[in-house]
Structure formats: structure tokens, C-alpha cells
Amino acid sequence: MATSLQPDQDASPPVVLSGSPTEPKKHRDPDGWRSRLYRLDLKATPYVYVAPFFLVFAAFGLFPLVYTGWLSLQKVELGGEAEWRGFDNYLRLWDSDFFWNALANTFTIGLISTVPQLLMALGLAHLLNYRIRGRGFYRVAVLAPYATSIAAAALVFAQLFNTDYGLINQLLGYVGIDAVNWETEKWPAQIAISTIVTWRWTGYNALIYLAAMQAVPNDLYEAAALDGASRFRQFISITIPSIKPTILFTIVVSTIGATQLFGEPLIFGGSLGIGGGSGNQYQTLSLLMYEKGWITGALGQASAIAWVMLLLLLLIGLVQHLLGRSGRGKKKDGAARS
């Protein structure tokens, strides 16, 4: 490289301008435009790199979020003028049976889809962690539902769950169970919808758990085996605690997903989808919001529902944060530094 005689301002780049006599200039102006440019480059580029994310988020995430909050305090029709109403929209939600029904449905469908899904994913990850022949096949197979769209999955399951000719009722028939009314009865319909969610996401979560399991140090298991702990015991006492942060992560992600449930019930219900079934038995908050905003045209009401969803998520996040913190205490000093 070029001259190293100079006191080497660490920031000054070597001169590469071909042919031009840069030497004198440099002596005259050691802090010249070139090194200033270089320092600016160093300082500014991080912001340039993160800027696209924040610009897009500001335009399509933050601004709409705030604007939705503002709209939720108005009476606005689709394409009409806004009229200030204060907290009227929220009070009307409070008095609305549809709102409470949708809230309860979101909660129950979320529960019966998230809990079995994550439990099965844990078990599946444990199995995939064995030394197995054809592991590649099993991993890809359980991930295949993840590549299926909500729309396609819901259409297929709507057929499988059909009360009159669906395959699932036929199978139940073979073992002597009467046909279940998966479409019009409340709990069967909610279970059917939860099945779609569970089917699509179990394999994905299993692979995330598998990744965490493979990072659990081997000696823990060896020590436990020496102490005579059974495989199951090792799973409960070593594997689960070791991957707790990952479990927490998947709980957060699945909860967020469950709160926003929209496509599965919409398509499962066919022409009755937007209302969440003939008796709103599986109308979720998202569906209610869509119905209010785009069918009824009451955008203020819809905005209020959206904000209730955000508040719900914040609440759930807070609870999970506290739970995660209380369970962590002891291990913290060991793992706090990276």
C-alpha cells in the first residue's frame, strides 16, 4: 500500500486516484474532503442501511396505526366525511353482543389451536431429534403444510369436514360415532377451524424447537443418564427447561397469529364466512372488523375494533413478559452474557 510515513489518520483512505498528483494537496489539507467524506460515510451509512425499514414502517405501519386510532374516535362512513364522536365507538362495542361474541370466539379458537399445536410440535421435535433414517423426508413432510396457503387449506378442510359427505364424518362413522355437525354447531365448527391452523403450523414450530434442542449440550444428558433418569424424565427435566426461551418465542408468535385469525374462518364458512357462520359461531374479531368496515361501511367502528386488538396484544405481551421473567431468575447469571 501507499505511504505509511504520515502519522496515519486512521480514517484517511489510501490514495487511489490514478495519476493525479494528490500529494501536495494532502499536506495542505490533511483533513480534506476525501477523509471527511470517508468519515461521513462511516457515520452515516448505518442510518442509510436501516432507513428503508423505518421509512416503510412509518408510511405503512406507524402512520396508519395512529390514524386508525384517530378514526376510532369518529363516525366515518366508507368514502364519507368524519364526524367527531369521542369514545362513542368503544362504548358501542362494549354494549354490542357481536363484539363480545367475537372476542370470546377469538379467545377460544386461539386456545384450541395454539395449545395442541405447540404441544404436538414439542413432541414432534423430540422425535425428529432422534437419529432416524430418512430424516430429510420427515422434516420436509411435516413442513409441507406451511407451504400451503390459508385459502387452499381452508377449502380442502371445508370439504373434509363437510357434514354430509366429508371424509372425517365417514371415518368417525367407521368407529361408530354419529356424524358431527362441523359447520353449524359452535364447538365442532371452532374445532374444525382450529384444525386448519394447527395443521398448517405444527411442523413449522417443530422445526424451530428442533433447532433449539440441537443446541442443548450433550453432557447434561449424559450426566442425567448416569443418574438413572429415563428418556422421558430427561425430556421433561432437561430439554424443556433448556429451550424455554424458544418456547416462549413460539407462544408469543402463535398468540399474535391467533388474535388476527381471519382467512381460515372466512373461507371455511363459504358464503356465510364473513359473518362467521350461520349464528356467528366462529366470527373472530378480524372478521367482525371486516364486516363493520367493508360490509356495513362503519369505518369508525372497525377502527375501534382494530385498536381493541392492539390493546389485547399489548396485554398478552405484558403477561408473557412477566411470566418469562419470573421463570428465568436463576439461570440468568449463567446465560446473560453472550
Binding site: 442501511y49 428503508p52 386508525t68 407451504a147 385459502a151 424451530i208 443446541a215 449440550p217 446465560a335
Partner: protein
């Protein structure tokens, strides 16, 4: 929440190599017994059966699909159904639209996520931690909160049924930024950047000649994950694009399935098959890499 995400894997678990992923380490993993194979086989069956049945249903007539013992073996109507479905809602156009949307979203997300992830992983700047926390926190904001203003916006601009109304809001993804940061934290040695700097490389050169080559495997995985996500996205496209306009596959499918009572279910399921097959084909070819990406360090804890 942030804590769960930021927390590194247990200290003792991380060091030696990102290489131990595939089968090489003999240590702990016990050999599976027959019971394990039975359970895994069952899981694979449940995962794959609905996809198989979709193919079966798409190869029968509409009347046969809704008859009591459901067909379990493929019939002869597949190509007939394909041509009907293809013309009925213009699946061809929907297929092209979806490819454009998913491709554009994947490319831009990978590019911007790599830049931002690199900055968060390896560059010092004021406010870095605060900004990173904001990025992670945005993952929890439900899309429901933005659809109403966005809808008013695209109505104002005359973008209803235009693909850009779906592409623009998805140009970046917090998940992608986080994913790339996690990867580059470990994969990119600071010395490499410093060496490049000493050699006088300016930032763009560093990005092009150092960061991108190192990040390439993660960029590929992220690209595939985002492509799958964008391909399957439903909520906002359903609002921004109507089935009679220029919809994506998912919106077209919703239109196929929700008509009146005279729906031909074989045709509907053929549509579902058309929407699923391209991605399944990608999976058959690249499945191992996608699985490797999900199970690699980048997503864990």
C-alpha cells in the same frame, strides 16, 4: 418479549461451529426405535394427506366429490378441471400476479433486511439498541391496525386492484431484519470488515464484496421464507384486490369458494391445487435448504 428474542442461546451451547447441523455429531442423539418411526410416519401422513386428497378431488367431477364415500384415488377429470378452472377465474393471470408480488416482495425484503441486519449486527451507531428494539416490537403490530387508512390511501390514489397496493407495504419485514442480524452476528467476522476498510474500501464496496458473499446462504433462506409468505398472504390482498379485478391466487380462490350454492367443488379444489402446486414444487426441490434455514441458528431463541 424482546428479551425472549434477544437472548442468546445458552452460552455453552454456541461456540464451536455452525457445522454440526447435519448428522455429523454422533453424541447424544439416540437411535430411534420402531415406535418413533410409527409416530413420525403418522405425522407425515397427516401432513401430506390433505395435499394428496386435494389432488384426488381435483381429478373427479363436481358430483363425485360431494358423494358420500369420498374418492380416495385419483380420477380422470384432472385436465378437464384444470382447463375449466383456468378459464373460469383466469387463474393464469392470478398466477402471474402472485409471482410478481411474491418475487418483488422477496427481493426487496432480502436486500433491505440484509443492509439493516448488517448495520444492527456489525456497525456502531447512536441509538442502535433503541432502533433494534423498535424493529422487534413492530412485529407485534397486527395488520388489522393499518388496513383502514391504507384502504383509504389506495382509494385516493386509484390503486384498488393494482398490484403495487399489495407490494409497497411489504417492501421490508421486521422478521427479515432480525433474521439477518442474528445470522451476521456470528457469520461475519469484524476483522473482515476492518481489513476491507484498511484497504480503502468504501461502504458500498464492503457491502458488495464482503457482506453479500458472507450473507448469501441466509439471504437465500430468507428469500424463500418471504416468498412463501407473500405467496400465501391473504388479509390485505383480500381487501386491496377484488376477485373481479386483478387478484392474487389467494383472493381468486376466496372468490371461487364463496359464491352461491351451485359451486362446483371439484373446480374450486382444482383452483386450490393450482395455488399450491408451484410452492410444493419449490419445496420438493429446495425443501432441505428451507428446513436447514429454519433449523439453523438464525431463527432459534
Amino acid at each position: 418479549m424482546t428479551h425472549a428474542l434477544n437472548r442468546p442461546a445458552p452460552a455453552h451451547g454456541r461456540p464451536p461451529a455452525p457445522r454440526k447441523r447435519f448428522g455429523t455429531k454422533a453424541g447424544r442423539q439416540h437411535h430411534a426405535g420402531p415406535f418413533t418411526y410409527v409416530l413420525l410416519g403418522f405425522a407425515a401422513l397427516i401432513s401430506l394427506f390433505p395435499l394428496y386428497w386435494n389432488l384426488v378431488a381435483a381429478s373427479h367431477t363436481g358430483e363425485r366429490v360431494v358423494q358420500a364415500p369420498s374418492p380416495l384415488l385419483p380420477g380422470k377429470e384432472l385436465f378437464n378441471n384444470l382447463s375449466i378452472a383456468w378459464n373460469q377465474v383466469d387463474m393464469g393471470e392470478a398466477l402471474i400476479n402472485t409471482t410478481i408480488v411474491a418475487g418483488a416482495v422477496a427481493c426487496s425484503t432480502v436486500l433491505f433486511a440484509t443492509l439493516a441486519g448488517f448495520a444492527f449486527a456489525k456497525l456502531e451507531f447512536k441509538g442502535r439498541n433503541v432502533l433494534l428494539t423498535i424493529v422487534v416490537a413492530t412485529m407485534t403490530v397486527p395488520p388489522q391496525l393499518s388496513v383502514i387508512p391504507l384502504y383509504q390511501l389506495i382509494t385516493e390514489f386509484g390503486w384498488v386492484n393494482q398490484l403495487q397496493s399489495v407490494i409497497l407495504p411489504s417492501l421490508v419485514a421486521a422478521f427479515g431484519v432480525f433474521f439477518m442480524r442474528q445470522y451476521l452476528l456470528e457469520a461475519l467476522p469484524v476483522e473482515l470488515i476492518e481489513a476491507a476498510r484498511v484497504d480503502g474500501a468504501h461502504s458500498l464496496r464492503i457491502i458488495w464484496h464482503v457482506v453479500f458473499p458472507v450473507a448469501r446462504p441466509a439471504m437465500a433462506v430468507l428469500g424463500m421464507l418471504i416468498f412463501v409468505q407473500a405467496w400465501n398472504d391473504f388479509f390485505w390482498p383480500f381487501i386491496a384486490l377484488t376477485p373481479d379485478g386483478s387478484p392474487t391466487l389467494q383472493v381468486a380462490l376466496a372468490g371461487l369458494g364463496s359464491g352461491n350454492h351451485s359451486i362446483n367443488h371439484a373446480i374450486v379444489l382444482t383452483g386450490a391445487l393450482i395455488a399450491t402446486l408451484p410452492l410444493l414444487a419449490v419445496f420438493a426441490v429446495l425443501g432441505k435448504h428451507i428446513v436447514g434455514g429454519i433449523t439453523s441458528g438464525a431463527v432459534k431463541s
